[in-house]
Symmetry: C2
């Protein structure tokens, strides 16, 4: 069994132990529920891989790693309320299964529980770990705020969109790796390289996700192709097209035209995307971030074989989306 | 100017500085708004008084003290959503002034900001401070959960009710004092005495509040006398009366009878309270907790004059309610 699988097993075990300890206390039932919906556990994996790159002593990183998964799921629980999302990983969301108040309050408890776990590390790294976690957590909230703000705007620029996904999704990957690096005893320079690596990787994968939603193989991605187009969702594709679109094309993209079948709408929006080379733009941008990520990994002061686990994870994530 | 006034001024200054630093960032506007609604700042006062009882070096307690006020206001922001409360301190609540999603997200940001401040203390007390804060914060959420659960029940016992208010309101007072004591370098025994003092004090004041809602002088308390009765609210008064009530009396108290004027309803419920000596019960219980609080203060290993600030605060809080 490879390193990645070992870490994955360790994370699942610790999450199970965490849920067992929560028992069936009312306020923690939704916490256990959302955690047991599964997921790839990318964030705790990144923490463990970062620690592992600098030391063999993994133990002090295990609970902070779990804390990052708990935090991530806390954001999902509250975002689902704000997005009125009925389904998460094929199951009812917490506010659907219980109600809005339960989702608010159990989410709050979950955030506090993340803090209970993040402090379970070596006391000499505690100030630095806490500071990184706090900054990251606040930025994730700012990202969600921007995402909501953007839904009411049609003039969002590509730079603004990238800043939003950086905050909403990438900084947590960056924070996860930086915390792992701190606990592993990395220099500040290496901490920053890993942080920047994860930011660039996160951006590249998010952009690829957006690309594949329109141009991917539905069987591989497990999503309805064209879902973003039908939902009039802001992505780098639509933003790029809107930059140049005529009024008619604009109305089509933002969803003012409503007398089209789903297939027709997807086809016509894709025509506009093609006209303004939106697919090329998103692919080039994603590719550039991917390149940056690899450069940051290269800049690390550690031996090549220490990076293997990280590269394995990158490949595994690629498989899913490429 | 007395010690208490000095601390109060210091707290207001630091809160102003905090809000200034938040600036007009969108997600933090509601944070500044709720903090600027005012309040007695009891929790940070308790922290500073506790530190002051053990050391002259107050500085390391200042930001943790502010953290407790931020946390308290975070709970108000989220509780107001759950309670559908339109007004807080005479102004629209955050979810009314903005909307539900803003109140959820800015509340989350506020909780994270509390953590940003709680860690600004001596690093050697950080693990203990964090642990106390986490435990307390989670208990406050559990208290809110119980409060919501109890609203759907008519068989809540006096013990259950007291456990609910202990969690919902008292543990944060206890946590505030314990954190102050830890930072002040108190022994674990003294930390516990101050914690127990604040718990007992909190229970006693909460019960007095409940008593005065029905039996107080509206001009002094600033509340509508009988408000709890009209809202069919669970308090130790109604719980005690329900223990012995006939079916007719029961229906009156829980609000099944609806053809009464406000004055009639208040008068008739008060008759039932009198019949079962509910007022005496709540007064005796509150008095016993007040007595316990003073005993805990007495048990502290410090000189009498070190307790003066704390006793001043107790008197000041009494003025408001007695």
């Amino acid at each position: 069994m490879g390193k990645l699988e070992n870490f994955q097993t360790l994370i699942e075990q610790k999450l199970e132990g965490f849920c067992r300890k929560n028992g069936d206390e009312r306020i923690l039932q939704p916490v256990n529920y959302i955690l047991q919906l599964g997921g790839k556990r990318v964030r705790p994996l990144l923490t463990l891989l970062a620690t592992d790159a600098f030391t063999d002593e993994l133990e002090p990183a295990v609970y902070p790693a779990i804390a990052l998964e708990i935090f991530h799921n806390f954001t999902l629980m509250h975002d689902d309320i704000m997005d009125n999302a009925p389904i998460r990983r094929g199951k009812p969301t917490v506010h659907e299964r219980w109600n809005r108040d339960v989702a608010i309050l159990s989410g709050d408890a979950m955030l506090i529980q993340a803090y209970q776990l993040i402090i379970k590390t070596r006391s000499e790294c505690l100030p630095s770990v806490m500071q990184t976690f706090n900054t990251t957590a606040l930025e994730v909230c700012q990202g969600q705020q921007l995402d909501m703000d953007f839904q009411e705007r049609t003039d969002v620029t590509a730079d603004e969109y990238i800043e939003m996904i950086r905050l909403k999704t990438s900084v947590l990957l960056g924070g996860a790796m930086k915390i792992g690096a701190i606990i592993g005893g990395a220099t500040e320079e290496d901490q920053k390289h890993l942080y920047d690596f994860a930011i660039a990787l996160g951006l590249s994968f998010q952009l690829w996700d957006d690309y594949l939603d329109t141009y991917g193989d539905g069987l591989k991605t497990g999503k309805q192709v064209g879902g973003d187009i039908l939902a009039n969702k802001k992505t780098l594709l639509s933003i790029k097209a809107l930059e140049h679109a005529s009024e008619e094309e604009r109305n089509l993209i933002i969803g003012v035209v409503s007398n089209l079948s789903n297939d027709e709408k997807i086809a016509r929006v894709k025509d506009v995307y093609a006209k303004y080379r939106a697919a090329e733009f998103i692919k080039t941008t994603a590719g550039a971030y991917h390149q940056t990520a690899l450069e940051k990994l290269n800049a690390l002061s550690i031996e090549e074989h220490k990076k293997e686990g990280i590269l394995q994870l990158v490949d595994k994530l690629k498989e899913r989306t490429h």
